[in-house]
């Protein structure tokens, strides 16, 4: 039981990373993109392939996962820029499915539907961080979340974040204020992809194996749900959203009813959450964070 809660918290962290990226794209720039499953998959496979096939250390595979995911973020961001709303959602959903199909069929690299097993565990200063010892892993993944939260939240509070919000509010006015709309949209895609790639690396290390079946479009839908539920444009809120969605999706197992409640229940519930939130509380549980003056990080003797 207690172990189960730790498991939920670990998955909360992994998905919170994706939700943080999604929040930049959807909460700030206002783009309804459904790509996170694809970048998550890419990140997972980068870590799996580099560590199993090429014997890389996990810590070196993480930046590679971020880099390669961002590259695909750029690739998907550029052509879909002119699409809006539903059209963008459909096009980006297609991207995730293409990634999954490639992973399924590129046998020589990905080992096809069998996936890659026996991924070496993470070690840090000689200490092994094994997914079997959940406490250690929990601390590790939440450190990643804290770092991502800090970086993205700072970014959002800088003038770049303001430019992204201006684009969301009115693209034409933003471009008439000297903002390069195309460039910023692509950057949002790149950064959102990078952090989802890192989430993928952690996922690979938690399961110690990767299979294409783990990266269906449901992952993207779940991440979107986390952002909508918590509150678009609020990084704390989307982490809360990640927890609630993970809690709901493991609830049947938690109370020992997984035999009674079919797995499809989750999908119905997520759909319902999206609809209900859109109608009654479109701003999410916590709502958008009001832009305010950023605070100094270090100030001698002052408030921090």
């Amino acid at each position: 039981m207690f172990n189960f809660i730790l498991l939920i918290l670990i998955y909360t962290a992994i998905f919170a990373l994706m939700a943080i990226g999604q929040n930049l794209i959807t909460g700030y720039v206002g783009l309804l993109s459904l790509t996170q499953a694809g970048f998550f998959a890419i990140g997972s496979y980068v870590t799996a392939i580099l560590s199993v096939t090429y014997g890389w250390n996990f810590w070196l595979t993480v930046p590679m996962a971020a880099l390669i995911s961002s590259f695909f973020g750029l690739l998907i961001g550029l052509p879909t820029l002119r699409l809006k709303g539903d059209y963008l959602a459909i096009a980006t959903l297609g991207f995730g499915e293409i990634v999954r199909n490639i992973l399924n069929n590129w046998d020589s690299l990905t080992n096809g539907p069998m996936g890659i097993q026996r991924i070496p565990m993470i070690s840090l200063f000689g200490i092994q961080i094994s997914p079997y010892k959940k406490w250690g892993f929990l601390v590790l993944v939440w450190i990643f979340v804290l770092v991502a939260y800090f970086l993205f939240d700072r970014l959002a509070k800088s003038r770049l974040g303001r430019a992204l919000e201006a684009i969301r509010e009115d693209e034409i006015a933003a471009s008439s204020m000297g903002i390069n709309v195309t460039r910023y949209k692509v950057w949002a895609f790149i950064l959102g992809a990078a952090v989802a790639g890192v989430a993928g690396s952690l996922q690979a290390e938690f399961i110690l194996s990767v299979t294409p079946g783990a990266f269906t479009f449901m992952v993207s839908i779940m991440v979107l749900c986390m952002v909508v539920l918590g509150g678009m444009g609020n990084f704390k809120a989307v982490i809360l959203g990640a927890f609630i969605i993970q809690f709901i999706s493991y609830f049947p197992q938690l109370v020992g009813l997984s035999n009674v409640i079919p797995p499809q229940f989750k999908q119905i519930l997520f759909g319902l959450i999206l609809v209900v939130m859109m109608i009654w509380r479109p701003q999410g549980i916590l709502g958008r964070e009001k832009r305010s003056a950023p605070r100094r990080l270090f100030r001698s003797g002052g408030d921090v």
Binding site: S158, R159, A163, S175, S176, M177, G178, A293, R296
Partner: protein
Amino acid sequence: MMLLETTKLTRAYGGVVAVSQVDFQVREGLITGLIGPNGAGKTTLFNNMTGLDTPTSGKVYFKGADITNRSAHKICRMGIARTFQNIRLFKELSVLENVMVGLHFKTGKSSTTGRVMAAFLSYLKVVDEYELMNESAIKWLEFFQLESLKDELAKNLPYGHQRELEIARALATDPTILFLDEPAAGMNPSETDSLMKTIRRIRDLGITVVLIEHDMKLVMNICDTITVLNYGQNIAQGTPAEIRHNPKVVEAYLGKEET
């Protein structure tokens, strides 16, 4: 040399020729009026000069440089700012933040380091940068006496203030030319009066103003020169007195209103 001019600018939407062979000139330091009946092509001409629309044929020159196919953000960065006929504020952002968006690219440019480096530095210096932008934004709000409303969301401002905020935001980009598309639309007489004074104050800052306006009293009062469009064509230009007595204009435009 004209500060800005179009030569034989044409914009057709399918069969509709919104702007036809227009030569439009803006002389530095003056207030230029652009008038004409509804649907005459005034807004279309603005859009084609500010990069939001591309002419079917013809050219746009700014300080002698051909800017015909340049994108809107580049044109803004060259020193051309504008407001919109249907106000386009960033509704969910505060009044202050709206003006700060106008300061966005200037703040980035102050750094001489490379682009990536500049972005990284501005990231580290979020607070310094904010304080700097805050200070100039407040100055522009004070210009319109909007500073006490700085924390309101833009969408909650009364109409007249929204128009003023849009001008403040445009001024924050530090333009050479300011295009105003019907700034007095929806304003009451006293607001229009104060707008008139504001436009003169903007001119006194050394900014060249071009405005589209249906309020004839305002146009005749503050414009140094006026261009008249009718059915997409430039039918007259001259001083307010000349325009008032131009038979073509009276027939096309004023005649309709004054009889």
